[in-house]
């Protein structure tokens, strides 16, 4: 497999950034990792994952869609769309890489979301295999192999070298663009690292979490479960879980009067919020129980019902770490699977 010494990472990043904008996960002042634009001297984080997911690159928290300007009886419609420059996201973890597949199913099916597609077309996703999973990881539950990441191109580290392999044409073009820095390398040590990681993955506290009792055909039994009352009881109704989630995809579209014309914008929505899916007639989910239920039913029942059985969660564990009251999809799954 092609490789480059980890001591030459800076050189590799410089070569990528020469051709395209490069984003890598790096540590910010408070110690948390986040994707930032690479510039000379910026180091790859040693943390397992970024605090926020990578979905912002394709589905940003807010974006302007169209502007309206009115003069007399004329309305001018101004398209805010801009063609994006090509960019590379380096170091995406296997869970987040799968989240793009899930988002694609929503935004790239008819009618195609051209804003999302534009960014997907211009972005190259370079993933990084995991070697030190956390106790909150459960990507295996959703059939993700943390040692064999998806993405346009994938990377592995054996502690000395970074190995790289293309997964598709876009990834091949990326590998070709840096081929002068790469050399053929022996993967014996890497194979050992992978085997060790697999062994750890099998011992994770959530390794046995199963989706067997969920899916598109389990709607009635779960929707009417008595467990929701207790599970949702202490939910604060904040949006933390939905905003750190790599697969939450609900959004709101609103018109904003700037005083100098109208801006129509789109922003992330959260099913945890009281005005979620509020329409002219009112709100279809008036209690926190209903909104809480929506989040988990969407990921575990509705999404697979509409997408050939694929679940709407990738087991990244962010909601497990960040929920202010530590209520999360794992606790919900375990509570619901007990009859």
């Amino acid at each position: 497999m092609l490789k480059i010494s980890l001591s030459r990472l800076e050189e590799l990043f410089a070569a990528i950034a020469e051709k395209q904008t490069l984003y890598i996960p790096s540590d910010r002042a408070d110690g948390a990792a986040e994707f930032t634009k690479w510039e000379p001297g910026k180091a790859l984080t040693q943390k397992l994952n970024t605090l926020r997911s990578a979905k912002d690159f394709f589905f940003p928290q807010t974006e302007n869609i169209v502007d309206f300007k009115m003069e007399g009886k004329n309305i001018q419609v101004i398209d805010q769309r801009s063609e994006h420059e090509d960019f590379v996201i380096f170091g995406v973890r296997p869970c987040d890489a799968r989240s793009f597949t899930i988002l694609d199913k929503v935004f790239l099916s008819e009618p195609v979301d051209s804003f999302y597609k534009n960014r997907r077309d211009h972005g190259t996703v370079v993933t990084m295999a995991c070697s030190r999973p956390a106790e909150t990881c459960f990507c295996g539950t959703f059939g993700i192999d943390a040692t064999e990441p998806e993405g346009d191109a994938a990377c592995w580290s054996d502690g000395e070298d970074l190995f790289i392999k293309a997964n598709n044409d876009k990834g091949q073009a990326f590998v070709d663009s840096i081929s002068s820095l790469l050399e053929e390398g022996d993967t014996a040590k890497l194979d050992q690292v992978k085997a060790k990681t697999k062994e750890i993955l099998s011992r994770l506290p959530l390794a046995n979490l199963s989706t067997a009792t969920f899916g598109g055909d389990t709607l009635n039994e779960h929707f009417n479960s008595e467990k929701w009352a207790e599970l949702s009881e202490s939910c604060l109704g904040c949006g933390t879980c939905t905003f750190v989630c790599p697969t939450c995809q609900c959004y709101d579209i609103k018109d904003f009067n700037t005083g100098n014309g109208i801006k129509r914008f789109r922003c992330w929505d959260s099913c945890m919020y009281s005005d979620f899916t509020k329409m002219a007639h009112g709100n279809p989910r008036t209690s926190q129980l209903e909104r809480f239920r929506q989040r988990f039913m969407h990921k575990l029942v509705y999404f697979p019902a509409n997408n050939n059985g694929e679940f709407g969660c990738v087991g990244c564990g962010r909601c497990l770490s960040k929920c202010p009251i530590s209520m999360n999809i794992v606790k919900v799954m375990k509570a619901l699977e007990v009859k």
């Binding site: 030190r132 999973p133 106790e135 750890i200 207790e230 933390t240 939905t242 009281s274 005005d275 999360n328």
Partner: protein, 323 residues
Amino acid sequence: MQEAMIKRAKELLTDGSVKRVIGWKRGEFAYDITPAVFESAEELDKDFVFDDFTSANVSKYLVKESKKEGKVLVFLKPCDTYSLNQLTKEHRVDRDNIYVIGIPGGPKLDIEKIKAKGITGILSVKNDNYTLKIETLYGEETMPFSEAILDKCASCKSKKHVTYDELIGEDGDVLDSDRFDMVEKLENMTAQERYDFWREQLSKCIRCNACRNVCPACTCEKCVFDNPNSGVENKAASDSFEENMFHIIRAFHVAGRCTDCGECSRVCPQNIPLHLLNRKFIKDINSLYGEYQAGADTTSRAPLTDYTADDCEASIVHERGAE
């Protein structure tokens, strides 16, 4: 302590003194503890937990729970009793329908501080004479207890329970804390440095509203930021300063009512030190109107909703702001 709490809760449930118990429920790991309502002895035996990670202030749940039929038992740490008093003062809870058992406070632990040491794959955390022994998937790790203490506990203001119906363990005293040290540091910065500090912090905000929703002082039936008719209800920032304004407005709204329980900073997923905004208000109120601790009692008039001839002139704000 946990056993004594479960035993007492079961007694009060059994003799019909209370119908429900608010406490903490154990999770999947050593640290992911959820506030919960228990209604039976079986539930208490199975899931009730009180340990180094039961840091959540459960007093806000009383807004809802105290209005239900039958008395509710709540276990409150010293800091949490200030929140309950303030809620009582603002008529947000029915104090007569609440039975408070005061329990010892922290210091509690912050799992984020343990993870920040690079410790991962955490299977258990044990406090062995103030050394944390942490069993992980990658072997055992140790670190000093003192380095994993939650920020809100590190600057604890009081070990005294300001309201309770009974105590388990001993009551403590109001402490001399260093909680205003960082506020002083910020005050001593130049206006530009201070502006840069807050811009860096507040620009991290993802507007998840965790700080607002956990805050015992934020109990409006409909927050202005959730009300489509308010004109400021938005899930998106209209410009890059809007998140800053959200936090500044929230700090003003809880000024004089915030007890400094520290929950806002504990729950912030982006590690924004929001409590510093509230502490600035508390410090100013102390210096301009005399020492005042919100939640210390349920009857006194709060400085910002009272008038005395000694009150500082409004111009003081203008004078202090000049630089």
